[in-house]
């Protein structure tokens, strides 16, 4: 087992202007906890001992090197595997907005990961079934419960945290009917039934 190093405190980033209109905040409430400078050492861990062991095991599954750490670019995925739903942007903020090289090279150990996870869990960005349906209704030009698959594809590949063509294909497989339309309530049920 590698000797434990002191947990890295990510560099405090300068406060940005309050989130612009296009930011991923669903409600008009104040910007989520990640926007002001993140001080991870002050985050209070509220997980039970059992939960911590669960997270530790999952963390270990992603450690491909055997040094009890994971790379920066794996953090978002581990959180998602544990049931959270952060945007890449939120995670980058927690990591101190690292460069692409940092993302690939730098590694985080479990004790430093826990406060990050706690922060994400604490943030009020929880989306439910209605939020997704509401989000898709935007594209329902005719108000008939369907959206054009083609339009959805364009949106997913050009807006927000862009998806690749392969990712979009995997997502949309079997969702479009013969007219190229997607029934979005069914779609949301599908995407939530992991």
């Amino acid at each position: 087992m590698a000797p434990k190093k002191d947990p890295k405190a990510p560099a405090k980033k300068a406060e940005p202007a309050p989130a612009p209109a296009a930011a991923p905040a669903p409600a008009p409430a104040p910007a989520p906890a990640a926007a002001p400078a993140v001080d991870l050492s002050s985050v209070k861990i509220e997980f039970s001992a059992d939960q911590i062991e669960d997270y530790r095991e999952a963390f270990g599954l992603f450690d491909r090197v055997g040094d009890n750490k994971v790379a920066y670019n794996q953090i978002a995925d581990i959180m998602r595997a544990l049931g959270q739903n952060p945007t890449n942007k939120e995670v980058n903020k927690l990591l101190g907005n690292p460069s692409a090289e940092d993302m690939a090279q730098k590694r985080v150990e479990f004790e430093a990961f826990l406060p990050m996870l706690q922060t994400i869990i604490n943030s009020p960005n929880k989306a439910g079934f209605e939020d997704y349906v509401e989000g898709l209704r935007v594209f329902d030009k005719e108000g008939n419960g369907t959206v054009m698959g083609a339009e959805l594809r364009i949106v997913l590949s050009t807006l927000g945290e862009k998806m690749t063509e392969a990712e979009i294909d995997a997502l949309m497989t079997g969702q479009e009917d013969e007219n190229g339309c997607v029934n979005y309530e069914a779609f949301v049920k599908h995407i939530m039934s992991v």
Binding site: A22, D50, E53, A58, A76, G135, E161, E167, V194
Partner: protein, 650 residues
């Protein structure tokens, strides 16, 4: 217009929000699927490696039970006979019995008096082989034909003669701008080999190939793969190279399916073919070096690997590579082969790379070692080389670099653990010695499944296998739980459950993550009622059930006991085998139970049991069809067994 602008702004804002929502969800889905895929992989791999280890344990247990067997048998009614028989049986299992010279063996393997009937519709071979015949053989196998045993023996004999002339380490060169194509484990999966030849072309003077071991076991067309590789090697002896793998070993073949495949396909001459293959396997080269810079071998290296020693060893004396670990005598290795040579060969065939520096024994596999990046660095420098290519481990993408891209693992059996589990890959190496990897996946089932369905399937079958394993260890698990439950409440905490399970199973799996798939019963405060849990694992207690669960071990013991490879064992042997097994597994089976069972299994009442028929009842041969058809293997009565015999779809 002000209205128009703000409306489109609004729309844009909403559509962005919608996009981000979906993208976030999608990435979560991908991450969770990846996690499921990882632990499913862990399950299969752990069970595979612990199976290899169990193989050794069974053998070593049989050996150490020798004296106990004498005692057990001496309580039988026909005292002297039994003791004599048992002693013979046990010592025969472990004795290597070929003191004959090669010429005598050639006479034994003679094919000349084997007649090929008129009705035979497969290929006819004449020697020396031509490339047209080799390609014809490929076509015939693609069309599911079987090569007649006469030609099999003739081809194997020619192969044997050729292999005896080859050095321990093949020296390959990419001069004349030739690219060498290197393939990893094939494990009897003919579809993958055909796919490689389709994509890359068959071997020829312009297209040299190197096959890196593990051609047989597990898949159902191992013998066909061997015949193809050998025939191309005979046609192009300077352009087709073979390295030995750890599965080119007849003891391993007993457990992992190759022995059974040959005996099933060649009912009359199977024994002879297997015997000849034993010799061929031991004569396979151990490693290959390309342009003096790239080392290719099946397992890997250790901190003591010395190419000079390997080049001079008598490789054919190491017939099965596990023996030395178990037996106190040096039966399986002649005195010519020194201990050091033997150990180096073992390292070459069994080792795995690890990420930490250093070198330690590979306890998971039971042979070879784990070696670290510092060992690779040191070895390459000392030998003035730049890359090690090896196989031996299944990788999801068919290949994986490690040790700073100085070690490349290459695996060519796609869908190895289950349909959709992994891709296969092969490598092309030109004079620049930069490996160019090509991936593929044999398609019969995969294209019809989405990634999600594929992960789901594989996960379900992995969990099924895991539950069986857990239930098979019930008594040990109960003991372990009781240790944590001193007050006998019948409950253990989640932490204790995970520790107890790992301490018994030794599979190094993420038990907490798997918990929700394995344990449904849980009290409000998160403790687990372990007796309830065993009921939940729901496996019938009948004797046939127990046999089914231990079928791999049972079959291994059967085949060891069937020393003349006839495919039959006597009733008495069966009883004694079962006794051995029940002691090994610490189970309570009465003699009467065994007798009754033996009688029902001996369906034609002639006093001997057909191993294949018996194990066939558990549908060992076709793992895939068992999973696909999802039929329950659990049979309650003997009459079900006979019913199955008539079922054409079995």
């Amino acid at each position: 217009m002000g209205c128009g602008v703000s409306k489109s702004n609004q729309f844009h804002k909403h559509s962005r929000k919608a996009a981000v929502l979906i993208q976030r969800w999608y990435r979560q889905y991908v991450a969770r699927t990846e996690m499921r895929r990882r632990y499913t992989w862990h399950i299969f791999q752990s069970i595979e490696y612990s199976g290899e280890q169990a193989q050794i344990k069974v053998r070593s247990y049989c050996f150490s039970m020798r004296s106990v067997c004498y005692a057990v048998f001496s309580h039988q009614t026909e005292l002297e006979n039994r003791v004599y028989l048992a002693g013979n049986l046990i010592s025969h299992i472990f004795r290597e019995n070929d003191v004959c010279w090669d010429t005598e063996w050639e006479r034994y393997f003679c094919y000349k008096n084997i007649e090929v009937p008129e009705v035979y519709s497969g290929p006819h071979l004449t020697f020396p082989l031509t490339v047209e015949q080799a390609v014809g053989l490929l076509e015939a196998f693609r069309n599911k034909k079987q090569l007649h045993s006469r030609y099999v023996l003739e081809l194997l004999l020619e192969t044997w003669k050729l292999l005896r002339l080859l050095p321990n380490i093949n020296r390959i060169s990419t001069c004349q701008s030739k690219e060498v194509t290197i393939c990893g484990d094939l494990h009897g999966q003919l579809e993958d080999l055909l796919l490689i030849f389709y994509k890359n072309g068959t071997p020829s003077l312009e297209k040299p190939y190197l096959f890196n071991g593990d051609f047989v076991d597990r898949g159902k067309d191992s013998i066909e793969i061997l015949l193809i590789l050998f025939s191309f090697m005979l046609v192009y002896p300077c352009d087709v190279y073979l390295n030995r793998g750890n599965h080119e070993d007849h003891i391993i073949n007993l457990r992992y399916g190759f022995t059974k495949e040959v005996l099933t396909k060649y009912k009359i001459h199977g024994k002879r073919i297997l015997k000849l293959l034993q010799k061929i396997f031991s004569w396979l080269p151990l490693a290959s070096v390309i342009d003096q810079k790239v080392l290719v071998l099946h397992g890997g290296i250790s901190d003591s690997t010395d190419l000079g020693v390997l080049a001079k060893a008598n490789r054919h004396n190491v017939r099965n590579t596990h023996a030395r670990i178990l037996s106190k005598s040096t039966d399986s290795v002649s005195s010519d082969t020194t201990k050091d040579e033997w150990r180096q060969i073992l390292d070459v065939l069994w080792s795995d790379p690890m990420n930490q520096d250093g070198c330690m024994p590979n306890e998971v596999r039971g042979g070879g070692c784990y070696w670290g990046p510092d060992i690779t660095e040191d070895f390459l420098n000392r030998n003035n080389m730049q890359l090690i290519i090896r196989s031996h481990e299944c990788k999801q993408e068919g290949y994986e670099f490690c040790h700073n891209r100085k070690v490349l693992t290459l695996f060519s059996a796609s869908n190895y653990y289950d349909v959709g589990s992994n891709r296969g890959a092969y490598v092309k190496l030109g004079p620049d010695l930069v490996p160019y990897v090509i991936q593929y996946q044999a398609s019969s089932m995969t294209r019809e499944l989405t990634a999600r369905q594929s992960v789901g399937r594989t996960e379900r079958s992995a969990l099924k296998v895991l539950r069986e394993q857990l239930f098979a260890h019930k008594s040990d698990l109960l003991c372990a739980f009781k240790k944590f439950d001193s007050k006998n409440t019948g409950l253990v905490s989640l932490n204790d459950w995970a520790s107890a399970v790992e301490s018994v199973m030794h599979l190094n799996l993420p038990w907490r993550t798997l918990r929700c798939q394995l344990v449904a019963c849980k009290t409000a405060d998160g403790t687990i009622d372990y007796c309830d849990w065993f009921n939940e694992l729901h496996i019938d207690q009948s004797l046939l059930e127990t046999l089914y669960r231990h079928r791999s071990t049972l079959e291994t013991i059967f085949r060891i006991v069937d020393t003349d490879n006839s495919g039959f064992i006597s009733m008495e042997d069966f009883r004694q085998t079962w006794k051995l097994l029940s002691v090994y597994l610490k189970m309570e089976i009465t003699d009467e139970d065994i007798c009754n069972l033996a009688v029902t299994i001996d369906s034609n009442q002639d006093g001997s049991i057909d191993i294949d028929e018996f194990m066939e009842a558990f549908r060992l041969t076709d793992k895939k069809s068992r999973l696909e058809r999802g039929r329950s293997m659990f049979m309650g009565t003997a009459s079900d067994l006979t019913k199955l015999e008539d079922d054409p779809s079995v």
